[in-house]
Structures are given as structure tokens and as C-alpha cells.
Amino acid sequence: MARAADEALAAAMREQWGRLLALLVAQFRRLDLAEEGLAEAFESAATHWPSAGMPGNPPAWLLTAARRRVLDRLRAEALAARRLPLLVVDGEVQQAAKRTMADPGGIVADERLRLAFLCAHPALRPEAASALTLRLVLGVPTADIARLFLVSTSTMAARLTRAKTKLAVAGVPFVLPQGEALGERVSTVAEVAYLAFTAGYAPGSGADVVRTELAAEAIRLTRVLRELMPGQAVFGPLLALMLLQHARRDARVDDDGALVLLPEQDRTRWHGEEIAEATALLGDLDGAPSKDAARYVLQARIAAEHGRARTAADTRWDRIAALYGDLERLTGSPVVRMNRAVAVAEAFGPLDGLELLNGLDGVLTSSHRLAATRAELLVRAGDLRAARSAYDRAIALCGNDAQRRHLGARLAAVDESLRSGADSHS
């Protein structure tokens, strides 16, 4: 009984956090009280549900509990300020919550949008905006957000607190921007949605190879954004990119829970309908995309090249390398350079790929993927000793258990080859 309640609560946490928070913020216009009230509601559920049993409508229960706490705090503040306290009948609070959670669709979509746009306000610096959206709208744990941004958990926690404080103290309003401001805000929101997807597709911490619910949640958020803002060109390509990557989810983990890389994936487990939907979206684009949309179009086209290759050997790496070249010119991103190096290595040989990786160490200092990529290319180039050091470094930097196991296996294979005297450099 207790176990079922714990699991139900963990599920509720993942699925409901963003919605409930958005509703509370919309109602009370106080982000600080909304968060505290909701956190306390979850704590209360953790205490009561295991012994008292699951409520009939868990989200309504949580919403009621959170609202009660917020109202208590508002009353206390009003009393402290010597103003008239709010008079709310508790029975009404319960009924209202049941009605809201019975039909969360329309209202909630808008309220989550408002919260997402609030978090993307220009009064916050960009990294703070992304981090806050992931935390508040999608409930991504702070440690995972930290990994995505390649900073420590305590740094990220401080960044989130500063951002929330800034919103409160500076009087940032809870309204959707209009006109030109909307377009700018949309860029940030799109970026954040993709970051959230990445957190589910390649989680930084913990035991999972993938967190499909989070990835699916990011996709749902993007669908909502696209539906609510059909004039914003970025969401079509963004959705296509997510769908193409998400389509591979069942092939990315084997039956033992280990990571399966793209070349080794069983492509029959890819979700063809999602690939088809994405391809249709990419075919549907008209005119020259904005710089934002262009970035996602290129990334989606790269993913589409993988999607259309029936086997790994059929992959057009030359096309992919060229697309990465365009993407690097557009963004100047070191991560793009790293991915381009892999594509170039596939198309033209490991030495060409390794050359592109030079100079990235200073920029990608805590990324295990750079070390892992280099290690892989060194193996192909026959330099096993150097590959060994690179794998060591990658393992030391890697925060995800499944990926670390995978790297460990590669390291063991290199060691085996070294023992049997296969190093062409010795």
C-alpha cells in the first residue's frame, strides 16, 4: 500500500508539477507562495497517502492542499500588513479544485504557456531563463539542469534562487508579451523546450539512459506552443527534430538497460510514424527561416538523414558532415564542431575527424562526450594508448550511470586489444 502510494506520488510529481504550479501562479500571482504551497502539498501527500490511501483525484487533492496553504500565507501577510484578511470558505476551495482538474485541457495549456513566457522574460539572463523554465514548467531536477549547463548543482541552485528573487523583487508581471516582444520571447521559449527534451533524451545524472516521460513532455509542450502560436515559424522544425530523435527511444536501450549507439540500434524498433510526421513537417516549410528556425531545420535534416537510412551502412555521412558544416557556420558552437568531427570521421576517416577536435579542450572542459568522441576516433586511427587515456578521462567526467557503464565496456575492450599487442603505435 505504502509502495503504491510512493510510486503514485512520484508519478504525480513528474506529470503534475508544471500544471499545478501554473494554475497557482495564475490564481495568486505570487511565484514564491505558489512554489512553497505546492512543495508543502506534496510533502503532506507523502505523509498522508501511504497510510490514508490514495485520494480519488490526486491532482485535485494536491491543488486543494496547495491553495489552502497559499491562502493561509496570504492571510498571515495581510494581517501583518494590517489589512482585511481574505475570507474564503474552505468547501468552495475543494469544489473549485475538482472542477479545474476535471478539465485541465484548455485553461492549463494557456497557463503553462504564461508560466513558460514568464520564465523567458528578458529581465532574466538567458541561462537563468532556461534553467527556471525547466525547473518550474517541466519539473526537471536541479542536478539534471546543472549537468545540461555543465555547472555544479550548487551553482545551479543559486542561479535558480537568484532568478526567482529577481522576478519577485523587480515586479515582473504575469502577462503574455505582445507584438515584437512576443517574437523575442518565443526564441527563448523554443530553446528551453529543446533543452528540456535533451534532458530527457540524454539525461545528465542518475541511472536512466533515457527519460522518455520528460522527452515526451517536452514534445507535448512544443505541440502546445505550435498550436497556440501558429505564426511562429520555429516550432515546426523544433517539433520535427524532437520527433526524429524521440522515434529512436525503444532502440537506444537494450534488454539489460545498457546504452545502444546509433550504428548498432535495431532500426525496426524505431517509431516510423513519428519519423513520417517529422519528415512531413520538414517538407512543409515555406520561405527562408529565421536564424532560430534555421538552426532547428539543419538539426532536423541531420536527424532525418539518420531516420531515412535503412541500415547504419546506408547513412549518408557526407551529407550529414555538410549539414554540420552549415550548422557550425550558423552557430559557432563547439558542441556542433564535435558532432561534425564524428560525421567527418565517418565520411572521410578518423584523422580528419580528430583534427577538427583540436582546440576544443579549452572550451568543453567538463564534457565527457569530447573525451569519449576523441577516444573512439583514436581507436579507429589505431592509437590505443591515447584512446585509453581519453576513455579514462571520459569516465571520470561522466555523471550518468548507463553511459559510464558503456564507456567502461569500451575501455575494457581497448585494454584487451592492448594486452594482445594490437596497438599500431607501440
Partner: protein, 115 residues
């Protein structure tokens, strides 16, 4: 919410070199700001400041008061004036501040109440 609007610019000597027409654009901008604030918010205070070279700064060194000639911060941009405005929220304040002369850097600092 009360906000202190701080206007800063780099070249404090520029004013002397401006033509009468160029100076008028500054006056017009401030007038537009003033009117808009009175419509959408409340103007509490506002003044132009003498150049930073006219400032005197007081600090304590080894417990004793020490005066120095000049502003407290030796930065490229220096304060030239301020407004104190009570506005509904940050977005309104930002919109209003966009009426100010474009050569300024404008800092919008929320005012807090000390109990």
C-alpha cells in the same frame, strides 16, 4: 511598485558640443517621458545631476572620514540624472524608459520598503 531610474552615459562633455537642435531632442525626450509617466504611472521625483567631476565622495579610512574629489565609482559611464517612479510593473516601467534619450544606459532599480 517604486523604481529608481538611473540614467548614465559615457561622454559627459558631449552636451557642450551639441547644437541647439540636438539638445532639443533631449529635452523633448524627457518631456515625453514625463507626460507618459504621469499618464500611466506616478512621478515621484526627478533631477538632472551636475557632472561627476563636481561630486565629492565620503569614505571611512582607518575609522576616520576621508573626502575625495569625484564620484564613488570610477567607471566609463557616469550618472547624469534620476527619476523616482511608481509604476504598475517592470514591463510598464521599461516601456516608459524607452522614451528617454537613446544614448543613455538606463538602470531600473526596484525600491524596497524598510520596516
Amino acid at each position: 511598485m517604486k523604481y529608481l531610474v538611473l540614467m548614465a552615459y559615457e561622454d559627459e562633455d558631449a552636451w557642450d558640443t551639441l547644437s541647439a537642435e540636438e539638445r532639443q531632442t533631449y529635452f523633448d525626450a524627457h518631456d515625453a517621458f514625463d507626460r507618459a509617466v504621469r499618464e500611466r504611472a506616478t512621478m515621484l521625483a526627478g533631477e538632472a545631476l551636475a557632472a561627476s567631476s563636481a561630486a565629492t565622495t565620503l569614505r571611512r579610512v582607518d575609522g576616520r572620514p576621508v573626502l575625495t574629489d569625484g564620484p564613488y565609482a570610477e567607471t566609463a559611464e557616469q550618472l547624469g540624472g534620476f527619476y523616482l517612479v511608481d509604476a504598475p510593473d517592470l514591463d510598464v516601467m521599461v516601456e516608459l524608459c524607452q522614451l528617454l534619450p537613446p544614448s543613455y544606459s538606463v538602470e531600473i532599480r526596484p525600491v524596497i520598503a524598510i520596516e
